[in-house]
């Protein structure tokens, strides 16, 4: 079940070396590490086709939620998550706007993506990132999670 177009053979090799397994305290009887498990994937039963009830429950408890998307991903594209977040009908706090960052080694501000803030719910995109946002855009990703955790405005 290796995902298409991705090459993580270095990680597979690293995690399967005897010394690494030893340092991670992995017993000898445990299977070799792989990115995804075919056995688990094939035996998995999906129960939900939408997460609206779960989101509503958590939002009702006044917990804070962030949904972010790298905007060039096609596996879970940003538009679908935008539709989903909009469908939750949370009260709008801030209209959709660009958020910015200053790339390391430069002094010019760049658009990192777009953000729309609802009550307890932030919808964020990261411009030019794919499915694995922190891999593709590490600096904006760190700024984004810091803003969320520390209640800083975008």
């Amino acid at each position: 079940l290796t995902p298409p177009c991705l090459n993580y053979s270095n990680v597979v090799k690293y995690l399967n070396t005897a010394e690494v397994r030893k340092q991670l305290h992995i017993p000898d009887m445990v299977q070799k590490w792989d990115i995804c498990s075919a056995v688990v994937g094939m035996g998995y039963k999906r129960l939900y086709s939408s997460m609206d009830k779960q989101y509503h429950k958590v939002l009702l408890a006044k917990k804070k939620v962030m949904v972010y998307n790298g905007d060039v991903d096609m596996a879970c594209n940003f538009l679908g998550d935008e539709w989903f977040v909009e469908s939750l009908n949370q009260k709008l706090v801030t209209e959709r706007k660009a958020w910015h960052y200053t790339p390391e080694g430069t002094t010019s501000t760049q658009v990192a993506g777009f953000v729309k803030q609802f009550e307890n719910l932030a919808l964020v995109t990261v411009r030019g990132a794919g499915h694995m946002v922190p891999t593709d855009k590490p600096q904006p990703a760190l700024i984004m999670i810091t803003n969320y955790l520390q209640d800083k405005p975008f």
Binding site: S37, C76, G80, D81, N120, V133
Partner: protein, 304 residues
């Protein structure tokens, strides 16, 4: 923290970190043992939030998130050397990477039963979390967040909806990155995404609009119309272009570095792997595309 589970030495790393990290197992239900890798915050571990991260699948490992996304380490191409990631999320949080469900990565179950479902996974992850706080009671007072990606779009809210009722956990919220939130919305929006990015042209779009959309809808529900013969025919090339033409579905503008996409080969009536298709020299669609790429490569040095 359990001293026996501390990672004392990270192989391949020139200078060992000043913050601590732990790796071990957490009890879930039955005989399930979920592997965790806990990375202490590089800032103020006693005050910084505790963040649980889960990759998706279902069935994919969160350790990949640690070693290739926002963890403190990056593995070299040789699969042996390790370097630091300056943008690691443990700059601002204590990060806990959980390999779930049992059977994923280093997680296992002694009874070898690896069939599971969304609710069972949420229950097992909740049990594992409680076990984590037993092992690391010093983090029970820290703000706690649940985060994840992809099929984590199901794992994260499902677990959060359980944990929000658990008063013993200082749960503050959750984060989903490129998550699966709603099947129909994800599928329907992909068609728009493909059109807006020029992956499908106006003639195909016109067919899709004609056969898959109903007059008074604000947007087309392609998934609901898939069963109609003409709509199904119109949708088929969209799937082919997105998943079977050699594009990287995880990053439209990224390179396709390996691995196998799958597609349905109408000539042989079988499911086949994308890389086999690229090797089919007689396929006109592929050969035209390859010719374009080769032609472009030949002239790109001269372009301004």
């Amino acid at each position: 923290a359990p001293p026996a589970e501390e990672i004392k030495y990270m192989p391949g790393l020139h200078k060992q970190p000043y913050w601590k990290q732990y790796s071990g197992y957490l009890n879930a239900t039955g005989t399930k043992q979920l592997h965790y890798w806990f990375v202490q915050s590089a800032n103020k571990p006693s005050e910084d939030p505790l963040v649980l991260w889960m990759n998706g699948g279902p069935g994919c490992s969160s350790d990949l998130g640690l070693l290739s996304e926002h963890g403190p380490f990056r593995i070299g191409k040789d699969g042996a050397s390790v370097s630091y990631n300056p943008h690691a999320w443990n700059n601002v949080a204590n990060m806990m990477y959980l390999e779930a469900p049992a059977g994923v990565g280093f997680s296992y179950s002694q009874d070898k039963n690896y069939t599971t479902d969304d609710d069972q996974v949420a229950l097992d992850n909740h049990m594992a979390l409680k076990n984590f706080f037993l092992k690391f009671p010093e983090y029970a007072k820290n703000d706690f967040y649940i985060t994840g990606e992809s099929y984590g779009g199901i794992y994260v809210p499902t677990l959060s909806a359980r944990v929000v009722d658990d008063t013993a956990i200082n749960f503050k919220g959750f984060v989903v990155g490129n998550g699966l939130s709603d099947d129909e919305m994800n599928s329907d929006s992909l068609v728009y995404f493909a059109y807006y990015h020029g992956l499908i042209g106006d003639s195909l779009w016109s067919g899709l609009s004609k056969y898959c959309c109903q007059g008074n809808m604000t947007r087309c529900a392609f998934s609901q119309s898939r069963g109609k013969e003409e709509c199904g025919k119109a949708l088929s090339p969209v799937t082919e272009i997105v998943y079977g033409s050699g594009l990287n579905e995880y990053n439209l503008y990224g390179t396709c570095e390996g691995g196998n996409g799958i597609y349905f080969d109408e000539e042989t009536n079988k499911v086949a792997f994308t890389h086999q298709k690229w090797q089919m020299k007689n396929n006109p669609y592929v050969s035209q595309k390859m010719k374009f790429i080769q032609d472009f490569t030949n002239v790109e040095d001269h372009l301004r």
